[in-house]
C-alpha cells in the first residue's frame, strides 16, 4: 500500500497553493476558493493522521465537523460578497477600506 508521507505531501502542497491564492488573487470569490482549498488540505491531514491510531475514529469525526464549519463559512461569506458587491459595485477586497461611507 501507499505510505502516509505521500498523503501529507499532498496536504502540504494544497495548503501552500491555497495560501498563495488567498494572497495573490484580486477577487473575493477567488479568495474564498483558496480558503476552501486550505480547509480541504487540513481535512486530508486529519483523515491521514487517523490512520496512525487505528483503534480510534476521532480524526475522521473532526474532519466531518470541519466540513460542517466550511459549509457555514462558504454560505455566509458568499452572502457578504454579494451584499458588498451591490453596495460598492466592486469585488476587489483592497478597494473596500471603510466600514461606513
Amino acid at each position: 500500500m501507499f505510505p502516509i508521507a505521500h498523503f501529507l505531501y499532498l496536504g502540504a502542497f494544497l495548503f501552500s497553493a491555497g495560501l498563495v491564492i488567498v494572497i495573490v488573487k484580486k477577487n473575493m470569490i477567488m479568495v474564498l476558493l483558496g480558503i476552501e482549498l486550505m480547509l480541504n488540505a487540513s481535512n486530508l491531514n486529519l483523515v491521514t493522521f487517523n490512520q496512525l491510531y487505528p483503534d480510534s475514529i476521532q480524526g475522521q469525526m473532526f474532519a466531518l465537523f470541519v466540513i460542517i464549519v466550511a459549509v457555514s463559512e462558504a454560505a455566509v461569506g458568499l452572502a457578504i460578497v454579494i451584499k458588498v458587491y451591490h453596495y460598492y459595485q466592486t469585488s476587489v477586497p483592497d478597494e473596500i477600506n471603510e466600514l461606513k461611507d
Binding site: 499532498l10 494544497l14 501552500s16 495573490v24 476552501e36 475514529i57 463559512e73 462558504a74 458568499l78
Partner: protein, 168 residues
C-alpha cells in the same frame, strides 16, 4: 504496480495539478470548475484512505452544495456584459514567497520524520461508516447538535445578509 496504487497516484496528480492551475487561472468560473476537480479527486483519496463516510460527505457537501453556491455568487457579482470576468493579480512576489517558504518548511518537517515514509495506510478492524454512526449518537452527540445549530444560524444569517429587502 497494482490498480489501487495507480488510482491513488492518479487522484493525487489530479488534485495537485488542478490546485496548481488554480493559482494561474484568471477566469473565476474556470477556477470554480478546477476546484470541483480537486475536491472530487480528494474524495477518491479519502476512499483509498479507508474513510468512506468522509468521501461521501465530501462529494455531497462540496460538489453538490458549496460549488453551486459559489457559481451563483460568480453569476451575481458579474456585470452583464458578455465578457468573462478576469481576475487581476497583486502581491505576486510576496505571495509566491510565502507559499514556497511554507511548502519548504512543511516538506522538511514531513521528510524528517522517517516513520511517515515507512508507515503504510491499511484497513481498520472496524467498519468505518458503522462506527461513525454509532459514535455520532454516543460520544460526539454534543458537537453534532452544536453543528446542527450552527448550520441553522448560518442559513438564517446568510438569507438575512443577502436579502435586498430594506429594514427599518
Amino acid at each position: 504496480m497494482n490498480i489501487a496504487s495507480f488510482m491513488f497516484y492518479f487522484f493525487e496528480f489530479a488534485a495537485a495539478s488542478s490546485a496548481f492551475a488554480l493559482i494561474f487561472i484568471r477566469n473565476v468560473f474556470y477556477g470554480a470548475l478546477l476546484l470541483i476537480i480537486c475536491l472530487l479527486a480528494l474524495a477518491g483519496i479519502y476512499v483509498l484512505a479507508f474513510a468512506e463516510f468522509i468521501a461521501v460527505a465530501q462529494i455531497l457537501v462540496y460538489a453538490g452544495g458549496i460549488l453551486v453556491v459559489i457559481i451563483f455568487g460568480i453569476m451575481l457579482t458579474t456585470k452583464i456584459s458578455g465578457k468573462p470576468l478576469v481576475v487581476e493579480h497583486m502581491y505576486e512576489l510576496s505571495g509566491t514567497l510565502a507559499g514556497l517558504s511554507l511548502l519548504a518548511l512543511l516538506i522538511y518537517v514531513i521528510s524528517r520524520e522517517t516513520s511517515f515514509a515507512e508507515r503504510a495506510v491499511y484497513q481498520q478492524q472496524y467498519d468505518s461508516v458503522n462506527r461513525i454512526g454509532i459514535d455520532l449518537m454516543s460520544e460526539f452527540v454534543m458537537p453534532f447538535e452544536i453543528g446542527g445549530i450552527l448550520l441553522l444560524i448560518a442559513l438564517i444569517g446568510a438569507a438575512v445578509t443577502a436579502s435586498t429587502i430594506k429594514s427599518k
